[in-house]
Amino acid sequence: MPEPRSGGARDLVATMTGFARTLRAAGVGADHQRTQGFLTALGHLDVAAERDVYWAGRLTLCAGPDDLARYDRCFAAYFAGERPRPGRSRTTVTVTRLVAEPYGSRGQEEAGEQSAVPATASEIEVLRNRDVARMTAAEREQVNRMLALLRGVRERRGSRRFTPAHSGVLDSHRTVREAIRRGGEPARLRMRTHRDRPRRVVMLVDVSGSMAPYADTLLRFAHALVRAEPRATEVFSAGTRLTRITAELRHRDPDVAMLAVSRAIPDWNGGTRLGEEIKALLRLADPRGATVVIASDGWERGSPEILGAQMARLSRLAHRVVWVNPHKGDPAYRPLTAGIMAALPYITDFVAGHSLAAFEDLAALLAAGTRGSARTGRRSHA
């Protein structure tokens, strides 16, 4: 710890904790414990030297490469005399922006479909099969509530970790330990077997303009997945860049999580370069053995060749690749965009993602790990 000094030391502590506060306001997780570490580090360095202060802060207050650019900006601004303004000055993106009115010509169809709803069917059944892009705000709220209740049961896979069991292979450790307890007589043989654990899911949600009517629902589905298996789920948003949003989705309340996500994603409603995003995904999240879920309509702004090449790599690494396309729910839909055609050969399951029923099917697919599809090389998890 820095030794107690006169008024100067107190000023120093105030200045440095102020800096940590600035970082927190900018979204760096510079919490109390880290700030303590920062002050301790400064005690070992020269507080008058700018580089020393810079590195002391960067080493103790940052937690990942995403923090570094923010740190640099804050450092430059704060030590040039700027102070954090009280309160939140940023305009927050409200989630309602995502669930905007249905777009394009579908507006007219909506009225027709609503009147065609059979009066006998229960409200829920109707909602379950309706395209979320054509819903009213109230219906959407109902669907959101049901999505939050979705049970994200996950397919199990074998792990390298052992657990005691009644049958399996001999657990020599426990057997001998027990024998020692009984004076060296191996009275009972103890067995062990490989424990199973949930299969990891890596989900990529396209938040580009063409996906805007579905992005909110998809992210809520992702939230249900994260809530069910927080340690075996990774979620990224794909717009003009790839953003890891798993941490934001960990919050229990779906609305709070959505708000956090809307703040974290810098590139709503832009274009997508899926090939590039998948390439980044291959680097950021190890897809080995995971089920990779890509939610996109395949409107690729980049080159389809790149997308095809990256999908090929992805399919070689991942356990299975599930592509969720909101438009697949439309019986007239044909996968004809260049992007989806390039990706199609490498997709294990090509599924719809436009209605609650479609999401329930997707959840069932992730729970069972199979849809009776072509790929059968799945290991049983015994």
């Binding site: 070992h44 390439k279 190890d286």
Partner: protein, 320 residues
């Protein structure tokens, strides 16, 4: 002996750390030197993240050489458990001891119990070894490969550098080992663990540093070859590759070129040894198609030192 060994307490500034590391042929930049300095002074683990091949593991090895402390390495993998990472009882020997005692007619059960759970029947795995060896450098390599169960007990050990063994009591380190944790970031490591550590993100070295590293590590390498290899490496990193080469790959490549008797960067030899630096077929194809090797050699011949990695990168950017 070049420099010999140094006690952690004698190191008084990041510059000293950089100098000591340099004596053992590890050229650290300001950030890494400060990180290592603070890790030594604050007794905190150093959490190093970065692409594969930027010198994370090498730093731990060099620190161990600088401090003259043995390097204890724990390679992480899925399913790594306490019996592999902390300690294990040597059951076979315990059993033998028990049988021997029985044969000689020992009847004092309590004494026998004490004997069986004695330190000599305990097998120390890396984490316990590191606490018992002083001084030592503990390298927890590629923690992102382990699972959360392992993170949980690593956190426990790194929080107060003690391990409690139910049958034996608590073992703690008088002076905690220097700990280096590395991650390739294929998985987000839990924040609680990172919070215990000093966090440093390692970048690929800049052009000048890379030249300096090549010359330092490979004494027979000419300055011209080092300059041209480093420049080509810069071009390769700027190109759109599946796996951009790290400093480890550049060193391998230069060594391969030297083995073939190169004194400057010959595109033909470079193409023949491309497998030392690029390990993906797609990458090799892309490099051959775009003529990056020729570009590396050409700028080398024309520009000399002045072009620098920045200019080389800009050029690659335009081509892409």
């Amino acid at each position: 002996m070049l420099g010999g060994t140094t006690k952690a307490s004698d190191i008084d500034s990041p510059a000293t750390v950089a100098e000591l590391l340099a004596r053992h042929d590890y050229l650290a930049d300001e950030g890494l030197a400060t990180a290592a300095f603070l890790a030594l002074r604050m007794g905190r683990p150093l959490f190093l993240e970065g692409e594969a091949g930027v010198g994370k593991t090498e730093l731990a090895k060099t620190l161990s050489a600088v401090l003259g402390a043995p390097l204890i390495r724990l390679q992480c993998y899925e399913g790594l458990d306490a019996a592999q990472a902390l300690y294990d009882w040597d059951f076979a020997r315990q059993l033998l001891h028990l049988k021997a005692a029985e044969a000689t007619g020992v009847t004092d059960v309590r004494a026998l119990e004490g004997e069986i759970y004695d330190r000599r029947f305990l097998i120390a795995r890396p984490l316990l070894q590191a606490l018992e060896t002083q001084p030592s450098v503990l390298l927890v390599d590629e923690i992102d490969r382990a699972d959360d169960e392992f993170e949980a007990f690593l956190l426990e050990v790194l929080s107060d550098f003690t391990i409690s063994i139910p049958e034996l009591g608590t073992i703690s380190a008088a002076t905690p080992p220097v700990v280096v944790v590395t991650s390739n970031r294929t998985r987000e490591v839990h924040d609680a663990l990172k919070r215990r550590c000093l966090y440093h993100w390692l970048e690929h070295p800049g052009f000048e540093r890379e030249v300096a590293i090549l010359l330092r590590r490979l004494p027979e390498c000419t300055e011209r070859l080092a300059t041209e290899v480093a420049r080509t490496a810069g071009l390769l990193r700027a190109a759109d590759l599946v796996k951009p080469p790290g400093i480890a790959e550049t060193l391998d490549w230069t060594e391969a070129l030297l083995t073939l008797g190169a004194t400057d960067f010959d595109p033909g030899l470079a193409a023949a040894t491309l497998g030392a630096v690029l390990k993906h077929r797609e990458d090799q194809e892309l490099v051959r198609r775009d003529g990056i090797l020729l570009a590396g050699a050409a700028t080398g011949a024309g520009g000399g030192m002045a072009t620098g990695a920045g200019a080389a990168r800009g050029e690659a950017g335009r081509r892409a």
